[in-house]
Symmetry: C2
Subunit: 298 residues, 2 copies
């Protein structure tokens, strides 16, 4: 995937050796030391690729903050401050305040102060967010240990299922999980709780498959998950079994957390193994590779 | 100006009362206290409004960082960390590394660690930057005192003059001040130096006029500048006198700093007065109002 190639080049270029940079450009968040340890992250959204049809202005503001809070949560950082840049196209100018109100509602919920913004105008609505959190115990992608359980904080595939329903002509009031698609909840409290014991963690923005590959590769371990442990009832109500499994493994947008720990919490789906790669044990016992792919964009 | 109306609404909405937020969304940078006092800022650029024709990829990366370092400098903060989001259109994908190299060269010059990035794809090249600095003595726009001198760190109008020449068919090798337009230098060291004594400061991104109005309004004072003190030789070589004065007062993009202080340093052009408003004393003694306007975008 082209995105990951480019990210690799950026990591190469911006590698630093500094006492105050503990984790650089290589994880969900950077970790810096300014006397206190701070987690820093940034993420952007733009209209054509990230906003499903029918999204409300408040949900756009919510989403712009939520994806950044999700990154902080995935490192076990408590969110403190947020800044944004917004480029408004003509259509969105009148919705500017409503976008910001959605952002503020979510900020208030988690005690985040929005302390900076840059506003300009262009052809497409574009929002970048930048969040700062305090990391008592920073959990990266690179600490998974052989024998750890693999757990996820919630059900996966709901956002993509809903998106596909929307693209097939359903309205936002008819799709299965509108909140997963339009207003995903960042797992802030879960992240803080999990950080006390997890060895590695990341959020699932692109897909579970990609997140597992990232943990496995960065930790120098392998991962095995079990089909029989994967909850799919929330999807098989709407699609057939194979499609449901596909959605669970390879779709993004739910912003749940996946982590590895000696302690099993939330939904346990597998374990960390010594042999490299990411594998799924099918119900019939066959072991198949989990591919490095996902789709989170429209 | 529409931009300032919207910014006003954002300031209203995101006003906070928190011990750890010393300056909120209301200045060039926010100032937060996490044990250490940090200045936070964000600024974005996109192709159609911010990149002059013929700009090199390295200069785009330079510019994205420079405008954020300029904000930090204008508060007297020492830059530490930088994060970016970049949306690449098809045309720019092959220049991705060159864009980042321009960013890195400037980062290295001022000891800035680039610790985060988000890369995606869209119809227009778009870069948002977020910078974090350490503020020993934070200088905002609101501290100007009656009797302060008004000073600027360098000659103004060069970027806009060069832009107009470019739009009139000159090549980048023929325009008067290519570096002012394509590769402006953020006044990082000047900002740190000035912060030791200045009562107020801001950078000149939109125009000197707008910056002076912001300082006057936020400080509850007036400002008087003197035409005879304004250096225009660098412009009158290329345009007539009135046009030169117009460029000096009302054009942006040079990223010089303007500050008020009991101490005169760099180029002194006027003083802080009690009566509200921003005024220019013309050579013939007439006093005219400096309008609230500027142009920094293409």
């Amino acid at each position: 995937m082209r995105e990951f190639e480019l990210i690799g080049k950026a990591k190469e270029l911006f590698r630093v050796e500094r006492d105050d940079v503990i984790v650089g450009i290589d994880d969900d968040c950077a970790l810096v030391d300014v006397g206190t340890r701070l987690a820093l992250t940034t993420d952007c959204l733009h209209e054509k690729t990230d906003f499903p049809k029918g999204i409300k202005p408040e949900e756009i503001g919510h989403l712009a903050l939520a994806i950044n809070l999700s990154d902080l949560a995935s490192c076990g950082a408590k969110p403190l401050f947020f800044l944004y840049t917004i480029t408004l196209s003509d259509y969105w100018i009148e919705y500017f305040e409503r976008i910001l109100k959605g952002m503020k509602n979510l900020a208030d919920k988690y005690g985040v102060a929005v302390v900076g913004g840059d506003t300009d105008f262009g052809d497409e609505l574009h929002i970048s967010g930048f969040a700062i959190g305090k990391a008592e115990r920073f959990v990266g992608r690179d600490g998974a240990k052989v024998g750890d359980k693999i757990c996820v904080t919630g059900l996966l595939g709901k956002a993509q299922l809903s998106l596909e329903q929307l693209m097939n002509g359903f309205s936002r009031y008819e799709i299965a999980y509108p909140d997963s698609l339009f207003k995903p909840e960042p797992r802030v409290e879960e992240g803080l709780r999990i950080a006390k014991h997890a060895n590695s963690m990341t959020d699932i923005s692109d897909s579970l498959a990609i997140s597992l590959h990232q943990i496995a590769k960065r930790s120098g371990v392998g991962i095995k998950i079990y089909e029989e442990k994967i909850p799919l009832d929330h999807l098989t109500k709407f699609v057939d079994y194979e499609k449901a499994l596909e959605l669970f493994l390879y779709s993004g947008g739910d912003y749940e957390l996946v982590f590895t720990s000696k302690k099993s919490e939330y939904i346990e789906i597998g374990e960390v193994i010594e042999d490299e790669g990411v594998w799924i044990v099918r119900r019939d016992g066959r072991v198949k590779e989990v591919e490095f792919r996902g789709y989170a964009h429209l």
